[in-house]
Subunit: 195 residues, 2 copies
DNA sequence: CGAAAACTACCTACTAGTAGGTAGGTAGCG
DNA sequence: CGCTACCTACCTACTAGTAGGTAGTTTTCG
């Protein structure tokens, strides 16, 4: 457990909150400095440039996702329950406003205007998530625990798109329950014999 | 046909392109001035503030959507074909890069950081689109031309979310065909006896 | 052990450049 | 004339980033 500095983590956490709210161009070093109580020059000590900061954030976001999915699959082996848990995770984050949006989904929306290093990180996240979902759906279809009407890869992309779009809608309506409402029928179509 | 000035329209078109690329904070008056060949002070003559500009853009975007859907329903009365045409419209826009993202979907992603007047316009667009889709799906279900497994409103929200999420994915992968690939099974699940 | 050297984390003070916006003037036209 | 559309020239506030300094801690080594 390396805990060399708490400040770097605080900066990353603050940056994540700002990006989730307003995107890459929606915050400045001054904003971060104010909320965590240091001077903005000190942020440059931890992250020389804004690109370094967001790049680190995106890389760690992907690492956490990989670790989270690995852990999830150890505890919850059944594909239907995996999809439900994944959707439930975001439903919870949105409902308690702790992480009301996926950082990479948000950054993807402004991808053409992003520094290339960050764009690459965002792409990597999409590829990982899509790959993981494809594997889960493939396994579920083979077992008969999931019903699919297209190739696993296509079903996975559609599922991921619905999750990201539902985040957008939840935000647009300002209603935290919208996400769960949208995901319910999406899950139902994939999972037979529900209820 | 009021055509009082071409410049104001040019400014709006440039702003739309910039917003679609990088969001509200991803462009400046200087950027617009450069591409359309006037000085940035002249933009203030047409749109006193950036909020005015984007507010006008969003309002007109909604007006165009309302007009477009009304026109569409006159030409294409069948619900399955309406959904297919709507999805096909965006597939085309993304494939020829003419309008590779919905302005309001993009602005929704940074909604918490948006000036309130603009946020309200974005919300209005989501409400209109959701309402229109709900009507189409309701009619299709009553006619038996669409198969639904949840309330029309919920199916409409899920469909809209998938469309928006698919835009995100198309952008993340940098592959213009991703959108159509995702929408195909989504439409198939709603439309029986396809093929 | 203890002093010197090096490193960490922060600071003040500054830079060049850009943001949105304003003041005031001018060219062309009905 | 008065209006529209544009201009030059400017403003203030803020952007990311730099220079250089200072405490306090850690490492190195005689």
């Amino acid at each position: 457990m390396d805990k060399p500095s708490n400040t770097a983590d605080d900066i990353l956490a603050a940056a994540r909150t700002f990006i989730v709210a307003g995107g890459y161009n929606g915050f400045s070093y001054a904003d971060i400095a104010e909320v965590i109580g240091i001077r903005k020059a000190s942020i440059h000590h931890h992250f020389p440039s804004k690109v370094d900061l967001v790049q680190t954030l995106v890389r760690r976001y992907l690492e956490d996702a990989v670790a989270g999915m690995t852990e999830l699959e150890r505890n919850v082996p059944e594909p239907p329950e995996l999809l439900r848990t994944y959707a439930g995770f975001w439903a919870q984050c949105i409902e308690d406003a702790s992480r009301p949006f996926c950082v990479c989904a948000l950054l993807a929306s402004e991808l053409p205007a992003l520094p290339p290093e960050i764009a690459a990180g965002v792409r990597a996240y999409f590829q990982f998530l899509s790959g993981w979902l494809t594997g889960v759906i493939e396994r579920g279809a083979a077992q008969g625990t999931l019903t699919i009407s297209a190739a696993p890869r296509v079903e996975a992309e559609a599922f991921m798109a619905t999750v990201h779009g539902a985040m957008l809608s939840a935000r647009a309506y300002g209603d935290v329950l919208t996400f769960g409402m949208i995901l319910a029928p999406t899950l139902q179509k994939l999972i037979p014999t529900t209820d």
